[in-house]
């Protein structure tokens, strides 16, 4: 899912950088309003933890393995803006410390995994809880959110690759189908693991779900700490 340098055309990189920076400006503006200095170390340790969590592989179909993309769980626990900030940090460290992903494709990677992969799951969860506010609905919502979020992020990655006609040798339909199919399998795994993580937190420390969620004002907050 991390697109390395050399896979995307320059104008695609520029467009995705611009779109990402606009979102980030709003995210930091809102973050400054919502959190105080107490939450900075907290958010940092949680980001470090999700970084480690992304490294653990689990088997999916056949001999292939997948790892958590982490967008849905970040969205549900920290809120979309905070999730975007966390994801940006994770991707930046992965690029500048481990060489996963690239510098000029960083904008595209943040767009796919930090904006599409975080905002879409949050919105889906909110909508489903608006229809029915119960624990079962929440679990279904989390699964759908994680699945759709992953697949959409992959489809965007495929689109960016396919539209890079100068550098990437395959067309949009091939790239989108390959990425979408692969990640629809990964998405099921992500859905199951995210449900398990949320249910264990709700069982052991439901109060942790009250971490202030940094979300756009019009979106409203996801309240799940009282569900048992």
């Amino acid at each position: 899912m991390h697109i390395p340098d050399g896979f995307l055309d320059l104008h695609i990189c520029a467009i995705t950088y611009l779109a990402t920076i606009i979102f980030l400006v709003f995210a930091f503006k809102r973050a400054r309003e919502v959190i105080d200095e107490k939450h900075i170390p907290l958010m940092a340790t949680l980001t470090a933890m999700f970084f480690a969590a992304q490294m653990m592989n689990y088997p999916i179909i056949g001999g292939t393995t997948a790892h958590l993309l982490g967008g849905p769980i970040l969205a549900i626990t920290l809120g979309p803006y905070a999730g975007l900030i966390s994801m940006t940090i994770i991707l930046l460290i992965q690029a500048l410390l481990f060489g996963d992903g690239g510098i000029i494709t960083l904008g595209a990677n943040i767009w796919n995994m930090g904006i599409i992969g975080v905002f879409i799951p949050y919105i889906i969860c909110l909508l489903i809880l608006k229809i029915k506010n119960s624990k079962n609905a929440l679990m279904i919502g989390i699964f759908l959110a994680a699945f759709i979020g992953d697949v959409l992020a992959a489809i965007f990655a495929g689109l960016e690759l396919g539209l890079s006609t100068l550098t990437f040798p395959y067309s949009v339909p091939i790239a989108v189908t390959a990425m979408g199919l692969h990640h629809s399998i990964i998405g099921i795994g992500e859905g199951i693991v995210t449900i398990i993580i949320i249910s264990i937190i709700l069982k052991v420390r439901p109060d942790l779900m009250n971490i202030p969620k940094i979300a756009p004002k019009w979106m409203g907050e996801l309240k799940i700490s009282t569900m048992r």
Binding site: G6, D9, P41, A48, L68, L96, I104, P169, I192, V193
Partner: protein, 269 residues
Amino acid sequence: MIKELLKAFEDLVYLERYPLLNGYLQKIDPRIKLFATAILIIVIVSTLKITPLLLLLITIISFTIVSKIPLKNFLIRVTIFIPIFAGIITLPLPFITPGLILTSFSIAGFSLNLTYEGVYKMILFTFRVWLSIAYLILLILTTKFTNMLYAMRRLKFPQIFIMLTSITYRFIFTFINESYRMILARESRITSKQRRLDIMRDLGNIIGTLFIRAYERGERVYFAMVSRGYSGEIKSINKLKIHVRDVIFLILTILICAVTILLNYLMVI
């Protein structure tokens, strides 16, 4: 599960060693290096012929040598994984691209034409990906991450972002270590081959527990920071200054980029 984490440790040991060497690129200001790497990669991505890229290949090999990074190690590290992946996904290209036919042969009734244009496209794509990754890895191997963060701070990234990133960076190792211990404990209790769903359940439980521990650690870290005088701002005694050698390095890089762009216009292939 455990292999990935061990690989991360290995990577980090490897990464921590080279930025401390007394080589040429290690002495360059991190801001300049970040900028130079970005424009070099932009030039690589916009070059659509192989010959100009050879100049950039010579450049990176010389940079690696003057920075005292073992060349063989470096080349292996750059080549494994992503460039090999790029090579594999472009394997069908020589056969599906129309153009001058080099050879044709038939397998099980299908006739395949190996075209010159296809082979060229495949080599160009893989080479370009390889070079981009090589320049990124050279930047990583010659710059300490804390210096990179300091450079970003001077480049006016939001302060809250720099602070979050630097604390995150320091705790990544703690949490990789913690996950490693939890997974090791789990593996040592397993006696038989597990079903897929069981593995996912255990993984979910491990991450859930890690989340709770991370939350509790975050609170402790905050109190530890407050007791050491934290008030929500970063202060650093690290000072960066642009020296003459930084300017020379920047001019050199821009010259190389200019020659590459020129060659891209002049050369046929």
